[in-house]
């Protein structure tokens, strides 16, 4: 609990609003990005981000330092999203791709084929089952370690590894036979 981020948590827990501001500045883009990808809607993502931080302020005393602050915050965000999914249906017409809301999302890719592959992979990742999708988002998109991903989801590291392997395998199939799953789902 000696890392600076954990100190921010404890300071905020002791009523230090400056520390709370630092936490917001440091983590709210990350949490927002996570929720924006999951919800597919900007306003829903902002609402969930606010709910997430509201729960953070209520749970500051419960943080024991067993996981990193990032994993802890992502866990709270994950549960907020799960509650939101249970209470209301997702947007009828979500964005075609969350990445399109980003400015020049395919810039890192030089070749057109890679750009197509990236969009295909991201799109296919959103079509994965929820447990696999959450694992992919946290580990690859949010760049959490296997341990942090496991802490955030409340599962074992071995389970995270299994889900990643399974998700990558399904994405491979999707890339090899593009449109197979979507066609199956339509039929």
């Amino acid at each position: 609990m000696s890392d600076p981020t954990s100190q921010l948590i404890h300071r905020a827990g002791n009523g230090d609003r400056a520390a709370a501001g630092e936490l917001i500045d440091q983590f709210h883009p990350l949490i927002y990005a996570y929720l924006r990808r999951l919800t597919g809607d900007t306003s829903d993502a902002e609402d969930l981000t606010q709910q997430t931080f509201s729960k953070v302020w209520q749970s500051l005393k419960k943080f024991e330092g067993r996981s990193t602050v990032s994993a802890w915050l992502h866990g709270i965000a994950y549960h907020a999203f799960a509650d939101w999914m249970r209470k209301r249906r997702p947007t009828e017409n979500p964005d075609a791709g969350w990445w399109e809301a980003c400015p020049d999302p395919l810039k890192p890719f030089d070749e057109i084929a890679d750009r197509d592959s990236a969009a295909t992979v991201w799109s296919a990742a959103d079509q994965l089952p929820d447990d696999l999708r959450q694992t992919i988002h946290l580990h690859y998109y949010q760049e959490l370690t296997l341990k942090e991903t496991a802490d955030a989801l409340g599962i074992a590291v071995s389970t995270v590894k299994f889900r990643i392997s399974k998700a990558i395998g399904q994405l491979q199939k999707e890339l090899a036979e593009p449109g197979l799953k979507s066609a199956a789902s339509k039929s």
Binding site: H10, L60, C102, Y141
Partner: protein
Amino acid sequence: MKTESEIENLLRQAPAPAPSPELGGKLKNAVHLPQSTNGTDLNLGGAFWRRWLPAIGYAVMVLGCVVVLAVQNHRQSAVVQQLEKLREDITLKEQQIEMQRDQTRLALAADARIKSLQDNATEADQLAATLAELQALIAKLTTEATDLEAKLAVVPDSNEVIAPYDFFNDPNGPMQKAREEVDSTKCVNNMKRIGLAFRIFSNDNDGLFPPNFNSMANELSQATVLCCPKDESNRMLAERLFDFVQPNGPKDDWSDWKAAWARWPINGGSYEMLGANLNRNDPVVDRKIVAKCRFHGHVTYGNGAVIRGDTLGGLQP
């Protein structure tokens, strides 16, 4: 086909949607932190309690259980001691009750003894009274005896001997009555034999009865049949006349028998001849008396039936 690492690279290069610039401000304005607690010692203390609270709680629970067990054990011991004391008290009470029962039994026995003695005293009083009465009676009898002795001294002695009671010869006694009953029964038997002799004679003489008893000598065999036991003179005469008769003697030696009958008077004996020369073919003859005892009044009818003179009932032939 993409390899796993290529797919992983594509995933890692995914862009991050950026929040609106206002979101950070909104979040900061919505911060609701808990109340400040000065210093970090308390915080460290909180960590201490969070770490050790389960163990301390468990220890407190165990300690509490131990205390509760000790208290319960102490109470149990006290209850056991109290129970023992109560048992001793109960034993003592039982002994007292037994003693009271013994005393009650003794008192009842004493009462019964006293009542028995009182009864004995009452009985003794009654015996004493009876004894007094007896003494008075003895005195009275003594006086009377004295008087009688005095009278005896005056009256001269007589040689009169008072005969003792003769049970067998008392004319009014039961033995005499029994003898008379036996004589009466013998008389009835004689009259039945006489009735039978009438019938036999009539069978041999076309229904005619004989003119007298002597004509039925063959049917009567001996004149003793014609004698009532009470008619002692005739009976002694008949026994004397027919003493020789041998019932199983030779048939042709009847001279004595004939002589005896010759010496027996006509219609002699105890019975009155009333059916002489009657014809038995006349139905009325059966209801007529043909013989009658002069002593008992027994009668013989023409059909042979005999009626006792002292009763209304009849004897069948």
